[in-house]
């Protein structure tokens, strides 16, 4: 029990994932700044942001709407992200072997932050938040099928194995899945799904600053918004880690391989950052078409290639 609590709260759960995520968020902001001829924030800026919101800023509740649900939603998002995080990170760090079918559990847990944002935004009774919530809903509906196909592709590649640990082991004994045509296709599909799950440009229409002024988060302030930031930091680490576990050999934590593991995470985040800095925001209708038609098509092609052994 104590060990499980340690896993959840410290390593590889809340504290560890959030810290790494915060540094990755700094990396993302720094790269963005360099691309845009700016200087960028100092290394500890994400921590300053978080603690300022948590400890200094006042939490203002919307006058209309439901305060309990409004405040519960950020807590729920942190729990969802952390739980998904430990299911991903425990096998990845070779601590436990997980269980058969844990991939599906991870799949469901990863949707909890998005759903809690929707619940929170609708509980705030703000018309702009409602627009943001409806956009987030449409976005989830469009990318979830693609994300499921992506996971299914990895499962097929591994010989119908539903266990994350086995998938990592299979790759480490053989070769990483990304080293084949179908693997590359799956990687592209996975990157775009992660981009949408993190609500980064071009898929940031639920937040869309210039249209609906941060949409789903418009009413959040103070500690509640700090928790949302925390959930976002965690997601920024565990989603790239999930992609690395599924396609890129996972982590080997010995000697020079530790450096490799860090580089892999940074590389995936770099790809996400570059995509978000070289594209405008697309419309929600275009996002739905993009996933339902093009990304699904790409995923199905990958599945067919896998079936033929490519």
């Amino acid at each position: 029990m104590a060990v499980n609590l340690f896993y959840f709260l410290v390593f590889p759960g809340l504290l560890f994932a959030a810290t790494v995520g915060a540094f990755l968020s700094w990396f993302d902001r720094k790269i963005t700044a360099r691309v845009q001829f700016r200087k960028g924030p100092p290394l500890l800026q994400p921590f300053y942001d978080f603690f300022k919101l948590l400890l200094v800023k006042e939490t203002i509740l919307p006058k209309h709407g439901s305060p309990v649900i409004f405040l519960l939603a950020p807590v729920l998002s942190v729990f969802g992200a952390t739980t998904a995080g430990i299911f991903i990170l425990l096998p990845l760090f070779n601590i436990t072997t997980g269980f058969r079918g844990d991939l599906l559990v991870i799949f469901y847990l990863l949707t909890i932050p998005s759903f809690s944002y929707i619940i929170g935004s609708l509980a705030s009774a703000n018309p702009l938040a409602a627009v943001g919530g409806s956009r987030e809903m449409k976005l989830i509906l469009s990318y979830e099928l693609t994300f499921l196909l992506f996971i299914a592709g990895v499962i097929m590649k591994c010989g119908q194995e539903f266990n994350l640990y086995t998938i990592i082991q299979t790759q480490q004994e053989g070769s990483p899945f990304i080293g084949s045509i179908s693997g590359v296709l799956l990687f592209i599909v996975g990157i775009f799904c992660i981009q949408a799950k993190l609500a980064l440009v071009p898929f940031d229409m639920p937040e869309a600053e210039a249209e609906i002024t941060e949409g789903i988060f418009i009413e959040y302030s103070g500690a509640a918004y700090a928790l949302i930031k925390l959930a976002k930091y965690i997601m920024l680490f565990i989603l790239p880690a999930f992609l690395i576990a599924l396609l890129m050999n996972g982590f080997k934590l010995e000697g020079i391989n530790i450096l490799w593991a860090v580089l892999k995470v940074i590389m995936v985040v770099l790809i996400l950052t570059l995509i978000r800095n070289t594209n405008p925001r697309i419309k929600i209708k275009q996002a739905v078409n993009f996933f339902l038609i093009w990304m699904n098509l790409l995923a199905v092609i990958a599945l067919v290639l896998i079936a033929f052994g490519y």
Partner: protein, 400 residues
């Protein structure tokens, strides 16, 4: 009729840098109707102008708009010079045109950046504003100010562009042309930008004529209206240039017109610099003794469209009546055509596409309560109230 949600854009909203309120009446994501309110920023410029001398009014009208701060002095100078029948020197004409066109370049670059920001493309935002910086440096070199240049006066300009500065301006302009090439390439060839802006917020030729839209908003719909050609002033008849138009009328066409106009502006400035070298240095003003009684109208093509100033002179040293119409005043009305039926995402970029400038557009509004018919206080009355309150407070403090 289904229930509609009001999506407010304003009074303070990241989409617009100034206070204004657009109410989008939405059914789901579709905008069914739009209403707007301005009047948050009324400064009674026209009334103030009647209490200033002609020389002072230039500084006043320059502060109507921070971005196109030369277009208002330009139009006012045209109006006053029409009353006095004043013919300015060629050198002053060239300098006026150079300032006007430099301003167009920096204003269009600013719009391209903002449009990028509204689309969530912050890289374009930052790049465009970085490339705008050399233009502001040029302004600082020529006039001493990055903005609000204080260059115009009745009968000419206040400062000369010395011939030694011409080569520096030429060099900076060629740099700006290269940067514009890069930016235009990035914007015009990006398929995602095409997907976001093509076919969005379309104004047909007829809409533009019906709503009397001006400037790039009209030119993007194929209406070749440009005061610089239609009612030539300053050095524009002395140089070669063409009016840029596009046919589609959508947001992309408006961006295209603005980007191509920047090249025209650069070419106009280069020709004006050639002209400057031919005329004698230092002849920048003609002496104006007095403004006779009369009526004058002045027009100038601001980056956003036609600026119109109407001045009545009673022979004294200040205008008896001064009326201003800025381009956004007519362009904002086209939102009825361009936004209704679009999604919120499209409507917001359509709002931004006319590059509206609200402080130019402000009119005083008197509001009445619908139910009681009672007059609701306007800003001036509120200020009077606050002055009265301060006086009362002071009196109380002294008495105690």
């Amino acid at each position: 009729m289904s229930k509609k949600t009001i999506i407010p854009i304003g009074p303070y909203h990241p989409l617009q840098e100034e206070p204004e309120l657009f109410k989008l009446y939405c059914d789901g994501e579709i905008v069914k109707d739009i209403k707007w309110e301005t009047g948050y920023n009324h400064r009674s410029i026209e009334k103030l102008s009647e209490s200033k001398t002609y020389d002072q009014v230039f500084f006043l009208v320059e502060r109507i708009c921070g971005i196109c701060s030369t277009s208002h002095p330009f139009a006012f100078a045209n109006a006053v010079e029409e009353i006095g029948n004043i013919e300015i020197t060629d050198r002053a004409k060239y300098i006026r045109s150079i300032i006007g066109e430099l301003e167009r370049i920096h204003s269009h670059l600013l719009w391209v950046g903002l449009a990028g920001h509204f689309l969530g493309y912050n890289t374009v935002f930052m790049w465009a504003w970085k490339y705008r910086e050399p233009v502001l440096d040029l302004f600082e070199m020529i006039t001493g100010n990055r903005n609000s240049y204080a260059m115009f006066k009745v009968g000419g300009v206040r400062r000369d562009i010395e011939n030694v500065k011409i080569s520096i301006i030429r060099k900076t302009l060629s740099d700006i042309r290269k940067k514009t090439d890069l930016l235009a390439g990035a914007v015009m060839d990006d398929p995602v930008i095409h997907a976001r802006t093509k076919g969005v917020g379309i104004l047909t030729r007829q809409d533009v004529i019906d709503y009397a839209a001006v400037g790039p908003t009209a030119r993007a719909s194929g209406v070749a209206i440009d005061v610089r050609k239609d009612d030539p002033y300053a050095a524009y008849p002395l140089v070669n240039w063409k009016v840029i138009t596009a046919q589609a009328g959508d947001v992309f066409a408006k961006a295209e017109v603005r980007l191509l106009e920047m090249y025209e502006s650069i070419s106009i400035i280069e020709q004006c610099l050639n002209g400057l070298e031919k005329v004698k240095e230092g002849e920048i003003t003609v002496k104006v003794k007095e403004i006779p009684e009369g009526i004058g109208t002045g027009r100038a093509e601001a980056p956003r469209g036609e600026v119109f100033h109407f001045v009545v002179s009673d022979g004294s040293n200040s205008p008896a009546r001064h009326k201003i119409r800025a381009p956004s005043y007519v362009n904002i009305a086209t939102f009825k055509k361009s936004c209704i039926g679009q999604t919120i995402a499209d409507a917001t970029i359509s709002l931004a596409a006319v590059d509206p400038c609200y402080c130019c557009t402000e009119r005083m509004a008197v509001a009445y309560d619908i139910n009681s018919g009672k007059r609701i206080m306007n800003a001036n009355e509120l200020i009077d109230c606050s002055i009265m309150r301060t006086a009362e407070m002071k009196k109380n403090l002294i008495n105690n």
